[in-house]
Amino acid sequence: MNAFIYHFAFEFRAGIRHKQLLLMNYLFPLGFYLLMGFILAEINPTFREDMIPAMIIFSTLAATLLGVPIALSTARENAIFRSYKINGVPAISILTITALTTILHLLIMAMFITISAPLLFGAPMPVNWLNYMLIFTVTTINLASISVLIGVVSSSSRESILWSQLIFVTSNLLGGLLLPYRMLPDIARQVSKLLPATYAMNAFNSLAMGKDADFSPWGSVVVLMLGSLLTFALAIHLFSWDPHHATRHGHTFLGFLSILPYAACVFLLN
């Protein structure tokens, strides 16, 4: 237990010491949040209604997708996982600690957004705080799991950036953060259901913010939970310490299995 605590404490501090992680955990989301608050909320006042969930999901996307995968793939390339394996650090600790410390940074960021958005920009507060906390927890765990899986299955840090950017950009465009789900064309709605951000936004809006749901809100929570479980299990199963990938066979293909719960919901959730 001591080992886990020491390791956790180091990884949490590294999230502030490491310039790229500091940028993705705090500076980039904070800058974007202020930009959106001062500019977009003035241009489009209805954005204020979605501001808190949208900015929390944006912060989560940035901290997880843009921070975690490259940190993991770089650690593997630099033989840090080799060193960990030799010294008895289990794969589950490496991945869990990475995910949990990111979630802790996100909690700090989410508290700041939740407190400051109503004061600075007149954004409405959540109406159901319990659901708000539940959806925040489920969403951050889900996106942290996806980020961990990308870091595990990518053959290089460059590949991890490509996968991360693909999900980050499409989530921002189609996930309901900047443009409401109901305003998307039909085909874009179907594509958006492959993205966890869409379910997170739907659940936040309906269960925490008291707005109408675009599709089943509790179904969205269940999909996010199932997706997290499958994704994290795949990440642990596919974890490799090997910088040269001498034992990798079809890891990227197996990683795609994590999309199954979302693909099923394209047809099941309406």
Binding site: A14, R17, A75, R82, K85, I86, N87, G88
Partner: protein, 308 residues
């Protein structure tokens, strides 16, 4: 008693045979050098012994533990100093010591940080340490849980002379405590100085095992005899000595390459006395481990062939 027993170890990567049925033993408390050019199979052999890779054939015991099937037991009896330090750039020596010792269920050894000259840097981040400090930290972490078997991969590469000597002293101290040391290195002088025995790998096979003295003695290498006299009586063009293959003159020295040192030396000294000359300097250099290593590589496989 043997600390390590390797019998017919085989490891392939796809079609590439990295290690080809090698066998050797390492005795308890021994420093065992593992030498070979890049691609010879050293790293794969080490990784099998460290429990990182599953052998495709043969058997392997480290401290009487099967590294692949009993990894949890293995972790606490081996220590590994990696060639690349394998630590996060933002970790401090103090944090690394706490984390690694905790995973080994051992108390943190901050005294080792002091011993390695890292006490003033214990709160500096890893990337802020010099390469010598990084290597010393890596060694401190490798030995902090008092392992029975210590694997060192290029432990002194890139270090200055003083730090290198300091690390050599520490390795000998560990040997004094009956720690078995596996030393993988490209530095032949280091292997010759440190190792009780060495194995030379080439194309996945062990081509020779023995003490550095035994290995250098079995080669076709010639002993170099450098002689300088007061009146330069050896400088005549037609002067020959028994068992000499080659003779060159350089900086007032006559240099002979002999395959029978005894007969050559006796003849040279007798000649100098007969000429009523005076011997000023006489140096005899036996072939080094490096000479023998290069000889083996060139006779049993080409360098390019070995670099898979």
């Amino acid at each position: 008693m043997n600390a390590i027993e390797v019998k017919n170890l085989k490891k392939t990567y796809g079609d590439v045979l990295a290690v080809d049925r090698i066998s050797f033993e390492v005795h308890e408390g021994e420093i065992f050098g593992l030498l070979g050019p890049n691609g010879a199979g050293k790293t794969t052999t080490l990784e099998c012994m460290e429990g990182l890779r599953k052998p495709d054939g043969g058997s392997l015991r480290v401290a009487n533990i099967d590294p692949w099937y009993e990894p949890h037991k293995l972790r606490n009896v081996i220590g590994v100093q990696l060639q690349s330090a394998g630590l996060p750039l933002n970790i401090t020596p103090e944090e690394a010591m706490k984390i690694f010792c905790a995973y080994h269920h051992a108390p943190p050894r901050f005294d080792l940080l002091k011993r390695m000259g890292l006490s003033e840097k214990q709160n500096a981040q890893f990337y802020e340490l010099s390469s010598g400090q990084q290597r010393r930290l890596s060694l401190a972490l490798a030995v902090a849980h008092n392992p029975q078997v210590l694997f060192l991969d290029e432990p002194t590469a890139g270090l200055d002379v003083a730090t290198r000597a300091e690390l050599h002293d520490l390795i000998h101290e560990l040997q004094g405590d009956n720690t078995t040391v596996i030393l993988a290195t490209h530095d032949m002088a280091e292997a010759e100085e440190m190792s009780d025995r060495v194995a030379i790998l080439l194309n996945g096979k062990i081509v020779t095992v023995g003490t550095p003295m035994e290995i250098t003695a079995t080669g076709a290498g010639q002993t170099k005899i450098s002689v300088r006299t007061q009146n330069a009586s050896l400088s005549g063009p037609d002067i020959t000595f028994p068992a000499v293959n080659q003779h060159i003159s350089k900086d007032d020295y006559n240099i002979y390459f002999s395959f029978n040192i005894g007969s050559t030396l006796v003849a040279i000294i007798a000649f100098i006395e007969a000429q009523r000359d005076t011997l000023i300097d006489l140096r005899v250099e036996r072939p080094s481990l490096e000479d023998r290593f290069l000889e083996i590589i060139h006779t049993k496989g080409t360098l390019s062939g070995a670099m898979l």
